[in-house]
Amino acid sequence: MADLLFEAGMEEIPARMIAAAEAELTERVVELLRRERLLAEKHEVHSYSTPRRLAVQVNGVLPRQPDAARELTGPAWSVAFKDGQATAAGQAFARKAGVDVAALEKINTPKGEYVAAKALQKGRGASEVLRDLLAAELAALYWPKNMYWRPLKPERFVRPVRWIVALLDHAVVPVEFGGVQSSSQTFGHRILHGNAPLSIDHPEDYLGVLESASVTADVQLRRHRIRKALDLETRSVPGGRWREDAALVETVTHLTEWPSVVLGSFDREYLVLPEEVLVTVMRDHQKYFAVENAQGKLEPYFLAVLNTHPEEKGIDVIRHGNERVLRARFNDARFFWRVDQKTPLEDRVDMLKSVTFHKELGSYWDKTQANLAIAERLADLLGSRGVPVDESALRQAVPLAKTDLTTELVKEFTELQGIVGGLYARAQGLGETVAQAIYWQYSPAAIEDPIPPTVEGQVLGIADRIQTIVAMFGIGLEPTGSKDPFALRRAANAIVKILAETGLPLVRSDLFHAVPAALDDATKEKLVAFFHERLEFWLRELRGFAYDVVNAVLAVRSDNMRDAIARAEALTAVRGSDDLAAIAAAFKRIRNILRQAQEKGLLNPGIDFGFVSQDLLQDPAEQALNTAAAQLAPVVEELQRKQEYREALERIATLRPHVDLFFDKVMVMVDDKSLRDNRLQLIGTVLGAFSKIADFSELVSA
C-alpha cells in the first residue's frame, strides 16, 4: 500500500474560490483512484489548501491495478484452425491474448463459430496510471473566473501554476500541467521562507515540511489558530469581545498561509460615526474584526489577521500601518458625512434626475415618482382595510428614499445605500417614521434578512420592488433560466416574505393594480406566473411544505400569499388522515369522470354546477351524499371565510362515508341522459364546493 501526495502550487488563488476547488480536486483524485481500481479498501483522504496551493493526500493506494480477466474474440474458428491445427492466424491471436494455443476456445456467435481466449489483462502500476491521468483532473477543475498566461494559450486556469508535487511514497509521478513538470519540491511562505525549494521525501512529511517553512496547509487548523489568536488578542481590551463573523473568518483563513492576529486601536472620537459605517469600513474594506463590549457596543479597537508572524518590532510596524489606513478611511467617512450634511436629502431629490436607474426606464427621479404613486395607492388600500399607515410620513419617505445615491458616503460605501439615507433622515430631524422607512427599504436583501419593522417601511419596500419588477417585465427584461441580472427574483422573494410575515391585507393583484403602468395581457400573465413561482419557491424551500401540498394549494389560487400559507399549513396537518386520503382519491376519480364525460361530448365544458335535481336522485346513496354535501357546504364555506382551514378540512373529511357509499352503489355514466346529467351535476357540485382550499387531486398518496 502506498501513499499519494498531489500538490499544485500557483500564484495566489482568490480566497472565495479556494474551499470549493480544494473539495473538487480531492473528489476528483479519489474518484480517479477508484475508477482505476487503485484505491485500497482501507484508505484515508486528506485535503489541504492555502492561497498558493491545493493538495490531496491519499493513504492507501494500491501499488498496481489488480489483474482482470477479459474475454477476447479472435478470427473465425475455420480461419484459426485447419484440421485441428492452429494456423498462423490462430497462433498470432493466441500470442496477442497472451495464452497458449491449447487454451483457445470455440464460441458460437450469431456470425458463426469463432476463436476466443480468456486473456488476463495485466494491471498497470499506480505510477503509470497516475502519470497518464492525474494532470487531467487538475486541468478539469472548475473556476468562476479563468485566465490564460502562456503564449498560444494552451490552457486556462485560475492563476498561473508554478509547481507540482506528485509523490507516490518516495517516487515522483511524472505529471505535467501548464508547462510545469512535477517533482518532489514544494515551496514555503513567500516572505518568511523565501524561494528556496523544500524537498518532500514522503507524503507523510508534507504537513511537517510546510510547517517548518511557515505554512499551515490544513485549513481547519488555520481557522482554529485564527480564532484562538482573535480570542487571545481581544483579552487586552477589558470586557471586550471580537464580533463574531463566520464569513470573515473564512475569508482570512483563505488569505493566509501562516496567520497571526494584531490588535489595533482608533481614536474614540470616530465612535460618533454610525456603527454601520464603522463596521463596513472595518469588515468589508479592511477585513478587520470589530471589537465590542458586553452590551454589543463598538469599542475603539480592531483585529487584523496577518499572513505572517512578525517579530516584536514588526508587530508594532504592522499595527501602526493598519491603524494609519483605518484612520484615513474613517477620516474619509467623517469628511463625507460632514459634506453630505451640507445638502439635506430634500435638496437632493432633483439630483436624482442625473442618476440612471435603467437606460430605457429613465432616472431614479422617474422611478421615485412611480414608487410614490404605488406607495400612495397601497397606503389607501391598507387604510380602507383597517391598517393604519402614517401617510404623511410615507409621502415624505418615498421621494427621499433614493436620494442617498447622490451622497458621497454612498458613492464610497455602496453597500450602505438606504441605511445612509435613513441615518441622514434621522440626523436631519425628519422624524423616526421617515428615517426607519428609508433605512430598511432594501431589507430583506437576502431571504434570511429581517423585514422592515414599520408598516411604512414595508410599504416603501414593496412599492419600490414591485415598480422595478413590473417596469423590467414591461421592457422584456424578465429573468430567464439562471440569468437574473436585475435580481428580480430576489425582489419578488422579498415581497413574498414581507407579505407572508406581516399579514398585511394585500394580495398580488392589489400590487399589480397599484402600478400606474399600462400592461398588456401577455406581460400580466408573465407577472402572475412569476409571482406564482416565487410563492411556490417560498412555500417549498423556505417553509418546507411538501411539493404536492404546495401544488394542491396553489392550484386553487395564489393571489393571496398569507392565505396560501394558511391553507398549506392546514393541509399539511390533516393530509395524513385516512379519511382525507380517501376524499382525495374520490375527488381524483370525480375529476376523471368529468373529464371523460367532456371528452365524449356528454358534458358541456362550460357547465355550471350546483343544480342537482332532488327528483332525479333515485339511489339512497346519492340522496345521502346530496343531503350531506348540502348541509356541509355552508358550514365549510363559513369556516373558509374565517380562514379556519384545518377545521374546514376536517369537516370535509367527514364526507368520506357518503362518498365511498356513492361510488360503491351508484353508477354515474348510465345510459339514461337525465339520470346521468343529474349525477354529473351531483359530483361536480361536491367537487366544486369542497375544492376551495386545495385541489386534493394534486396530492400524492403516501
Partner: protein, 347 residues
C-alpha cells in the same frame, strides 16, 4: 495601547525616501531589469493604462518591457486640496511586461525591498482584484497588493484589450506612488509628503508645496468654471475628427474592402489593360496612416467626458450614448492598430 509611540520610534531609525527618490528608485529598479523607461504621456489620461504605451503596446505579439510614471487625472475625484487622501491628479508608476516572466511576483516584491520596505517586518497579501475598462474593451485578472492593510499596487494579467484576446498576455504592475510615499514617510496627509530635500540645507519641499495650488484651482475649474458649452463643442470636434480618421482607415484598408479593390483592379486589367497601382504604395500608406493620432483624439474625448461628468452636465440618456460612442472609437482604434501592425509585418 502604546502602538503609535513605539512605531514612531521604529520609523525614525531609517530616513524614509522622498517622493522623488521613490520615483527614481523604482524607475532604476525596473531599468536594471531590462525595462525601457518612457516619459509620462503628454495628453490627459485617467490612468496609466490609457497611455498608448500600455493600451496599444499590449496588442500583438511583440515583446514589451516598459516602465513609466503617469500623472492620472480624474476630475470627479478632486477635493479642492481639502481631503488628505484624495487627489484630482495622482501619480502612477506603470510597468508592462509582455510576456510576463514566471517570477514576476518575486521581482515585484524585490522592488518593494528596493524602496526600503523590509518585507519580513510587514504583512503582504495578494488579494483578488480584477481590472476592467469597459470603454477600452479591456480586462484582466489579478490582485491588489496589500501592505499592512494598505493597497499599494494593482497587479493585472491583461486578457483582452480593444475587445481582442491577447496572445501573449501582458503583466501590468501599477504602483500608487502617493500612497506608497505617505506610507514610507508615515504621514497622514498626502500634502505632507516630502517631495524633495535639499542635500545641503536639509530643507524639505512637500507635496503640498508643489501640488496643492494645482489641486485647488483644477478642482475649481473642473467643478465650477469649465464652460459646459465649450466642453461639448470640444468633444464634438475631437470625436468628429477621430471618427473621420477611422472611417478613412476602414475605407482604405479593411480586408474585405481591399479584396473588392483587387477585384476592380483585376477587372480593369482585363478590360482596359491599365496597370495596377503597386502593392508597395498600399503598404506605405498603411504604415503612414495616423492611427496613433486617432488614439490621441480618443483620449481627448475621454477626458472631456470626465470633465463634463464632474460638471454634472451629462444627463442620463446622454451618458449611456456618449460612453458607447467613445467605446466604439477606442475599440475601433485598437482594432485598426492591431490590423496595421499585423499587415505591415506580414507584408
Amino acid at each position: 495601547m502604546t502602538a503609535i509611540g513605539s512605531a514612531s520610534n521604529v520609523r525614525v531609525a531609517t530616513q524614509a525616501l522622498t517622493f522623488q527618490e521613490l520615483l527614481l528608485r523604482l524607475q532604476n529598479f525596473w531599468a536594471e531589469r531590462g525595462c525601457v523607461l518612457a516619459q509620462p504621456y503628454d495628453i490627459e489620461v485617467g490612468a496609466g493604462t490609457m497611455s498608448p504605451d500600455t493600451f496599444l503596446r499590449v496588442l500583438g505579439p511583440d515583446p514589451v518591457a516598459i516602465a513609466y510614471t503617469q500623472p492620472s487625472r480624474r476630475p470627479a475625484d478632486g477635493r479642492y486640496g481639502e481631503n488628505p487622501n484624495r487627489l484630482y491628479k495622482h501619480t502612477q508608476l506603470q510597468v508592462i511586461l509582455k510576456p510576463p516572466p514566471a517570477e514576476i511576483q518575486d521581482i515585484y516584491l524585490d522592488s518593494l525591498e528596493a524602496i526600503g520596505i523590509r518585507l519580513r517586518e510587514h504583512d503582504i497579501k495578494f488579494e483578488e482584484d480584477n481590472w476592467e475598462w469597459p470603454v477600452g474593451g479591456a480586462w484582466g485578472v489579478g490582485w491588489q497588493v496589500m501592505l499592512d492593510g494598505l493597497e499599494i499596487t494593482q497587479f493585472t494579467y491583461f486578457q483582452q484589450c480593444g475587445g481582442m484576446d491577447l496572445d501573449p498576455i501582458s503583466g501590468e504592475i501599477t504602483y500608487g506612488l502617493e500612497r506608497i510615499a505617505a506610507f514610507l514617510q508615515d504621514v497622514d496627509s498626502i500634502y505632507d509628503i516630502v517631495w524633495a530635500r535639499d542635500p545641503k540645507t536639509g530643507r524639505a519641499v512637500t507635496y503640498g508645496d508643489i501640488r496643492l495650488q494645482d489641486e485647488l484651482q483644477l478642482s475649481v475649474y473642473n467643478f465650477e468654471a469649465a464652460d459646459i458649452g465649450k466642453l461639448w463643442e470640444h468633444l464634438r470636434l475631437y470625436e468628429a475628427e477621430c471618427q473621420a480618421l477611422l472611417d478613412e482607415f476602414h475605407k482604405t484598408f479593411r480586408t474585405e474592402k481591399a479584396a473588392e479593390r483587387h477585384e476592380k483592379i483585376h477587372d480593369r486589367l482585363v478590360h482596359d489593360g491599365a496597370s495596377p497601382p503597386p502593392d508597395e504604395d498600399l503598404r506605405v500608406a498603411l504604415r503612414r496612416f495616423p492611427v496613433l493620432g486617432a488614439y490621441e483624439l480618443c483620449l481627448k474625448c475621454s477626458h472631456l467626458f470626465n470633465l463634463l461628468d464632474a460638471r454634472g452636465a451629462i444627463s442620463v440618456t446622454e451618458r449611456v450614448a456618449v460612453m458607447a460612442r467613445i467605446r466604439n472609437m477606442v475599440v475601433g482604434v485598437a482594432k485598426a492598430y492591431a490590423a496595421q501592425k499585423q499587415r505591415a509585418e506580414a507584408a
